[in-house]
Symmetry: C2
Subunit: 354 residues, 2 copies
């Protein structure tokens, strides 16, 4: 593979010196881009887009053609893993993901098995290889997975939820069954991320979208412990470099100290955390990735500039910060605002690295 021309992201995730703060954006390939919508229409559905390595490669590269971002992130969906477990993923237009066979019965939970990623998620691995070839060493490629707990939420609920009624009923009535699902998920996520690394992912991120809806006690037992297990099983080196890992629990701002101790290289932060206090709290343990309120991109150019400057100042001098949003780019974002954001980060950050 070609030597990496821009390794700023990988260096920042390992808290090595950089010339400026790197930036990439969650959901940078998404519905705010007209070219993404065109490809999605061509694919016929979101799932067909995820399952076609050609089209997944195409949309992964689209934001990089527009903006000088410091990383690409694999275009895929966290629910491909439970889909590969046989739960039957489908999407209802305008309503989000659903599973044909939500995981509620004890026999089904006992029958659950971690899929072999080469066999069942080959289309993702093909996309990783194809994107790496297309990137040709310009910027690193980030692979990702949902966390064991977040996947369990979708698997048990069968769809998105605001209260996680079924998952939490299991948690407070049959914790043994929830642990059984999480053990299988931890195995599945470990194998899946390792297969992505094997195929060419140069950093990996675990999205724990729903761990923040737990109590601090349940978070440690049902989400954090299983992310720790995944991290302990990850391949850490590839192509002679460390493959940094990022853990992101949305709504987990109160638990950063616990998260920093599970063996990841960086923490993703949502926008509820002050970046300066977060840095103080985690010290030298991990880098930090985040944490602009995505809604700033709905504001005007002055708001983008002001809030960017605020975050850079809050983090302060030195490496260990990867600029990102605190959640995905809103669908209604004007692409000009993304351009302004990337420009502001690249223009305003070098002074903090001088």
């Amino acid at each position: 593979m070609s030597a990496l021309k821009n390794d700023t992201l990988l260096r920042a995730l390992l808290r090595e010196p950089v010339a400026y703060t790197p930036i990439w954006l969650m959901r940078q390939a998404g519905r705010y881009l007209p070219e993404y919508n065109a490809t999605r229409t061509r694919a016929g559905s979101f799932l067909a887009l995820c399952k076609s390595p050609d089209l997944a490669t195409e949309v992964t590269l689209q934001p990089l053609a527009r903006f000088p971002l410091d990383a690409a992130i694999l275009f895929s969906d966290i629910l491909t893993v439970p889909d590969a477990m046989g739960l039957g993923l489908y999407f209802v237009e305008g309503e989000g993901p659903r599973f044909e066979r939500p995981l509620r019965e004890e026999w089904a939970i006992r029958d659950l098995r971690a899929p072999n990623p080469v066999e069942h998620l080959g289309y993702v691995l093909d996309a990783v290889r194809q994107i790496r070839r297309a990137l040709d060493g310009s910027v690193p490629l980030i692979g990702f997975s949902g966390s064991p707990y977040t996947l369990a939420c979708y698997m048990v609920e069968g769809e998105g939820s605001s209260d996680f009624r079924h998952t939490k009923t299991l948690l407070y009535r049959r914790p043994d069954l929830l642990h059984r699902i999480l053990e299988v998920n931890a195995r599945a996520v470990t194998d899946y991320l390792n297969a992505q690394i094997e195929a060419g992912a140069q950093a990996v991120m675990i999205f724990d979208t729903w761990g923040g809806a737990l109590t601090p006690y349940a978070y440690r037992e049902f989400s954090l412990a299983y992310m720790e297990r995944v991290l302990s099983g990850l391949k850490r080196e590839r192509e002679g470099r460390r493959v940094p890992s990022v853990v992101f629990t949305k709504g987990g701002g109160l638990w950063l100290e616990d998260m920093a101790a599970i063996g990841c290289d960086a923490l993703g932060l949502d926008w509820s955390v002050d970046l300066g206090s977060a840095r103080q709290r985690v010290g030298e343990q991990v880098a930090l990735q985040g944490n602009l309120d995505p809604a700033v991109l709905l504001g005007d150019a002055q708001a983008v500039e002001r809030e960017t400057a605020r975050l850079l100042a809050a983090y302060g001098r030195g490496s260990g910060h990867v600029f990102n949003l605190g959640h995905g780019i809103p669908q209604y974002t004007a692409p000009e605002n993304v351009a302004a954001l990337v420009d502001a980060v690249h223009r305003l950050s070098p002074v903090y690295h001088a």
Copy 2:
């Protein structure tokens, strides 16, 4: 009015000695109770229920007839205030509240006025008076309002939202207009709570359901500052006793120190915060109310007992804790579990007050 027989709640909110930890539950009059559903059916709609002092009194008292709770909370809805401002509140069955005229135009924002509660919210004040008579001094009655920011979210979005797109667009494009709404709301909430106190509310709570979706900087400027303004305008005494105030920002666990400093007597906590650390952080400034995960009520009797014991131990010895959930009672709760919870709190807490 009759002398108060059980003043444990009021004493705990002021961190005065108590014999046991008092308990009430957010949404204790709600859809998990068959008798509530019967009254609601009789009323014809949720809004008709809110607007009838007789029926509001009836449902306010229902949970007290079943469980030895230490407080009643006025049955009403936070959106009665914007309704009184002329936005046209209505409910779509199964989809939650909507406004006929969401607040999006500059002229409409400039025209917005705080309603006179006696004139426009008389049905709430009638309910307060009627509930007080019916309670006959058995337990105190809590009044409440939405926070200025939370009301603004509903007023601008016109309905519930997961991303507050319109509100945040205003925040990041026209903060002057959002401030204008918040000024009117702060006036309206102050007048409304004072009218409730005048009518007989013995404690008041401000529900800031959506402040937690802000950045720390925006929270201080757009939510906290206006709750502080409300608090500074509240009548603090009635019937020779202090009327304690509780501020609850859902998702505000990172900002407790800031919240404790705005002049309230207690903070409501959602279940993401460890109660022991919260107590350490706020010190002697305020009492704490919370913070059981409502989903524990979907668990079995052992889970209810175990999680109750955990919270009581986390708070530790001494007054200043009001037991509650971290959010409203789930609709699917078995009333037996509520009975078990109230019993567990009353049975397990005296040792912490000996």
